[in-house]
């Protein structure tokens, strides 16, 4: 039942790997969560305005002194490899925090169904924010956000199923192969529900998922498919649905067994007697999409957009696409190609999205945290409540979109730095080590800017701090201004 062209493509990609989780072997922590604050006034090591500091900015949620020290120790490539081999990074502190505070996230689909929808949502949002800010596996968390955006699912529409998708699709496969990830997403009950695939059946196909899997997940909007391909693929995918409490299922009874042609690949007519084997038609089309050159280009462009620049160069796109093709969509290999030292050095800064900004504030100001309930609720005020983007394209990653939203960030910074008790406590006194205005500014530079603060900003922060008595209230305001400053918004 497989056309010749597709069979060749299938062979090229090799057999689908079994979905197994890489075992995690915790090792001693190489990256301390809390930066060491020296007692003496630190001197800004300007040499970090280099490819390595660029790298740190792009693969973390905020450049801390601990990151700087780690990169210094392991070097550019060494740091990348350690972050790629993320299961070897001890993340037991974050795991323990998430495990104890957000226990619903490890429950099965039936338990999640029975839980309060609001609680599931809040635990998922808070755990995501906490890990972004405090996980040692920063690159992994950046990839989780990338794929969450790429395979966007609104929790408003699918509820607890998003928590299942986050755990069993996005986090499970974020650093495996694009093939494993796409297959997992295509067999995610949450995705089926989000894009109405569970509403589709023979004789009455629903085109929503069929369109978006080509437009947004694989080929890209100009990737060479037609409206007829959308219609035909929607027929191929009839029967891909959900069962029970939202588990993926293939239902042969509602599958369209007629002949179809998608992207020039013909699937001959089958018969209901083939039963569960009808899913192979859709799987074959996933393989066709995975092997399509437009997919290589589309994923490469998007990954470069994420890590490198809003407008990656054609040669850069070609290089990453070539890695995609050569490795069967190996995500780590594509990241290696994308994180090129020369490219990073030449790349312009990117604007932190609101979630990135708030995660940065937590990561760099390193408050004592017993929960992130209130910080998570602030994400609504700054415009990016997690998993709330309702359309399947995900939150925009464009300067034009977020540029105007500076004031909510300033307002957040005021709020955040004022926290002196409760679940998040900013230890203002720890920024005052040295007990002078200049030492305080140096601590802010070290902790918030990885010792790369812009000299003008440094001078103006010092002037603001010195305009009043050196006390906790003034330091908190100065911290708020540092987090509000233009240069903190970029990475």
């Amino acid at each position: 039942m497989i056309g010749l062209g597709a069979a060749a493509l299938l062979t090229a990609l090799g057999p689908r790997r079994a979905a197994t989780q890489t075992p995690r072997h915790p090792r001693p922590a190489p990256l301390p969560l809390t930066p060491n604050i020296p007692n003496e006034t630190p001197v800004a090591p300007r040499e970090w305005a280099t490819d390595t500091s660029r790298l740190l900015r792009r693969v973390t949620y905020g450049l801390t002194d601990a990151d700087v020290q780690a990169a210094k120790k392991y070097g550019f490539r060494g740091f990348v490899e350690r972050q790629l081999d993320y299961t070897q990074l001890d993340d037991s502190a974050a795991d323990a925090f998430v495990g104890s505070k957000y226990p619903l996230l490890s429950q099965n689909i039936t338990q999640l169904f029975a839980a309060s929808a609001t609680t599931v949502q809040l635990q998922l949002q808070q755990a995501t924010l906490y890990r972004a800010a405090f996980s040692t596996r920063q690159l992994y968390e950046r990839m989780v956000e990338f794929w969450t955006n790429h395979f966007n699912i609104s929790i408003i529409k699918v509820g607890y199923l998003k928590a299942v998708d986050d755990r069993d699709v996005i986090r499970q496969y974020a650093m495996t192969t694009f093939r494993d990830l796409l297959y997992a997403s295509a067999k995610s009950g949450a995705m089926m529900a989000y894009l109405d695939q569970n509403q589709s059946r023979s004789g009455a196909p629903n085109q929503n998922y069929a369109r978006e899997i080509m437009e947004l997940h694989t080929l890209g909007v100009n990737g060479g498919y037609t409206q007829n391909d959308v219609a035909e693929l929607s027929r191929v995918l009839t029967g891909w649905t959900i069962a029970g409490r939202g588990d993926f299922a293939f239902n042969p009874a509602i599958h369209d067994w007629g002949a179809k042609t998608v992207l020039g690949v013909t699937i001959p007519a089958g018969s209901p007697s083939m039963g569960a084997a009808g899913i192979k038609e859709g799987e074959m089309m996933l393989d066709v999409l995975l092997a399509h050159p437009s997919t290589a280009t589309f994923i490469a462009t998007k990954m470069l957009h994420w890590f490198l620049s809003y407008d990656p160069l054609p040669a850069q796109i070609a290089a990453v696409a070539s890695t995609y093709t050569a490795t069967g969509g190996d995500i780590k290999a594509m990241i290696r190609t994308s994180l090129d030292s020369a490219w990073l050095t030449a790349a312009p800064m990117k604007l932190k999205r609101p979630f990135h900004f708030i995660a940065s504030s937590l990561r760099t100001a390193s408050p004592a945290v017993t929960n992130v309930v209130t910080i998570n609720s602030q994400l609504t005020n700054v415009g990016q409540p997690l998993f709330h983007w309702d359309t399947p394209d995900g939150y925009p990653d464009k300067v034009e979109y977020w540029a105007g939203n500076v004031l909510p960030r300033w307002s957040y910074a005021s709020y955040f730095t004022s926290l002196g008790s409760g679940e998040v406590v900013i230890d203002a006194a720890s920024f005052m080590k040295g007990n002078t205005a200049d030492s305080t500014i140096a601590n802010i530079d070290l902790r918030l800017f990885g010792s790369e603060i812009d000299p003008t900003l440094k001078a103006s922060l010092a002037a603001y701090l010195k305009a009043g008595a050196l006390n906790v209230a003034r330091v908190r305001e100065t911290l708020a201004l540092a987090l509000s400053a233009n240069s903190f918004q970029w990475y």
Partner: protein
């Protein structure tokens, strides 16, 4: 208050703005670069008006995101194919037997509103609401995102253009009030593409909470600090920060929490209703606002559409009751009658329902224009193309017979007083169809 125009103010700043944005000869390199990126060389040079009409309306632009089903919003009950194509989700004819609560409300002898749109009947009866049908974009994509992008930038299939049609309108007109810190706002956390390129324009999701926070005693000093700090920022961040600092004090003077709508208007307590209420408060505060962009979602009705009692019903009801409140509160009430509202979507839905009692992405749909100077009280069509299969686009969709830019261009020219239609809608020669009075 709205028609209290400042005829000769603003031109100096406007010429400065024009030089920077259109001719790219700004002193600051970054601004020139932004101008070049925003306004490609092929855009026609703006015609600098020495004076302008004193009847420039404020515009409320509503984007119905998701592909709104025009055949439910404005039901062509006179076309029998509407009923054959939609056995489970059609709105019954106004003269059908059965309960009144399910039937259409006749707009003429061919079209009807569903009950969910009843809120807009007063505006229609007062001839202030125009419905345009079988409209949209020619050759549009069925992708939500492409179709929205091209609709918002006002030029199909041009990936190089990043400014929006309303952004270019504002950029090519002097401000109504030269001292206004804010000329336009998007009720959104991020600036909608429609407004990109507009001077003194911000996305403000919640105008009532637009504040820097922290101690009141130091607020001014902190704002001054940030104004200076962002002085070196690249565009568009630089302007956004400057506008934000200026807008904080502006919005602080508007009593959002105590705002009382006129004319007994009641805004639904929904995000769309609250957004329109905020816009109304800002317009009535008479602070020189010229445009607001508001979005309403919920239109992507692939399944269980149910325009009589289900999800489409609720979305349409929110849409119509919110706009009806804005109409009663603002448009129908002096002195703010110089306000025009438009609402439209990136595409319509298939003429026939799908197997999920919903509708998939289509083409032609309905557009709404409301204003005291809109020639309303009718459904405008350019020869109804019909819903019989041979008459459908690709055998499945209502054909687009009126480019949406025709409608907007006439409003931009006649109500917003902007003759630079080539800037607002590049490469498009609009047909004036009698949209305005």
């Amino acid at each position: 208050m709205i028609d209290e125009r400042d005829d000769d103010c603003g031109c100096t700043e406007y010429r400065e703005l024009s030089r920077r944005q259109f001719l790219g000869t700004a002193a600051g390199g970054s601004m020139a670069a932004v101008a070049a990126a925003y306004f490609p060389a092929w855009l026609p040079k703006v015609v600098l008006a020495e004076s302008y009409t004193s009847t420039r309306d404020v515009i409320l632009s509503v984007f119905m995101r998701g592909g709104a089903d025009g055949l439910s919003l404005c039901v062509p009950f006179g076309d029998p194919s509407y009923y054959t194509g939609r056995p489970t989700i059609a709105i019954p004819r106004p003269d059908a037997a059965g309960a009144l609560t399910t039937k259409g409300i006749a707009l003429d002898n061919f079209f009807a509103f569903p009950q969910a749109m009843a809120g807009l009947m007063p505006a229609y009866v007062a001839t202030d609401l125009l419905v345009v049908h079988a409209t949209g974009q020619f050759n549009s994509s069925r992708s939500h995102f492409d179709a929205q992008r091209y609709m918002e930038i006002g030029k199909p299939n041009d990936a190089s253009l990043v400014t929006g049609w309303l952004g270019r309108h504002l950029a090519s007109m002097p401000p109504v009030r030269s001292t206004a810190p804010l000329r336009a706002l998007g009720l959104s956390s991020g600036l909608q593409k429609t407004l990109v390129g507009a001077p003194k324009t911000l996305p403000i999701a919640n105008p009532a909470g637009f504040s820097i926070g922290g101690s009141a005693a130091t607020a001014a000093a902190r704002m001054a600090f940030l104004q200076t700090d962002y002085g070196g920022a690249t565009e568009p961040i630089h302007s956004a920060a400057l506008d934000a600092t200026n807008t904080v004090s502006l919005l602080a003077t508007i009593g959002f929490s105590t705002y009382r709508p006129a004319n007994g208007a009641v805004y639904p307590n929904t995000s769309f209703g609250n957004a329109l209420k905020s816009v109304a408060a800002i317009i009535k505060a008479d602070v020189g606002i010229e445009a607001a962009q508001v979005d309403i979602g919920g239109w992507d009705t692939h399944s269980a559409e149910d325009p009589i009692a289900g999800s489409m019903y609720r979305t349409m009801q929110d849409f119509s009751n919110s706009l009806a409140a804005f109409y009663a509160d603002v448009i129908a009430t002096a002195p703010t009658t110089g306000v025009t509202a438009v609402a439209f979507s990136e595409f319509g839905r298939n003429a026939r329902e799908n197997g999920s009692n919903g509708t998939d992405h289509g083409r032609g749909t309905a557009l709404f224009a409301i204003g005291k100077n809109i020639a309303g009280g009718r459904v405008m069509v350019n020869n109804w193309p019909g819903l019989a299969k041979p008459n459908l686009d690709s055998g499945q969709d209502l054909v687009v017979t009126i480019d949406y830019r025709d409608i907007l261009a006439e409003i931009v020219q006649n109500r917003l007083g902007n003759a630079n239609l080539g800037v607002v809608f590049p490469s498009w020669t609009p047909t004036m169809r009698g949209v305005t009075r």
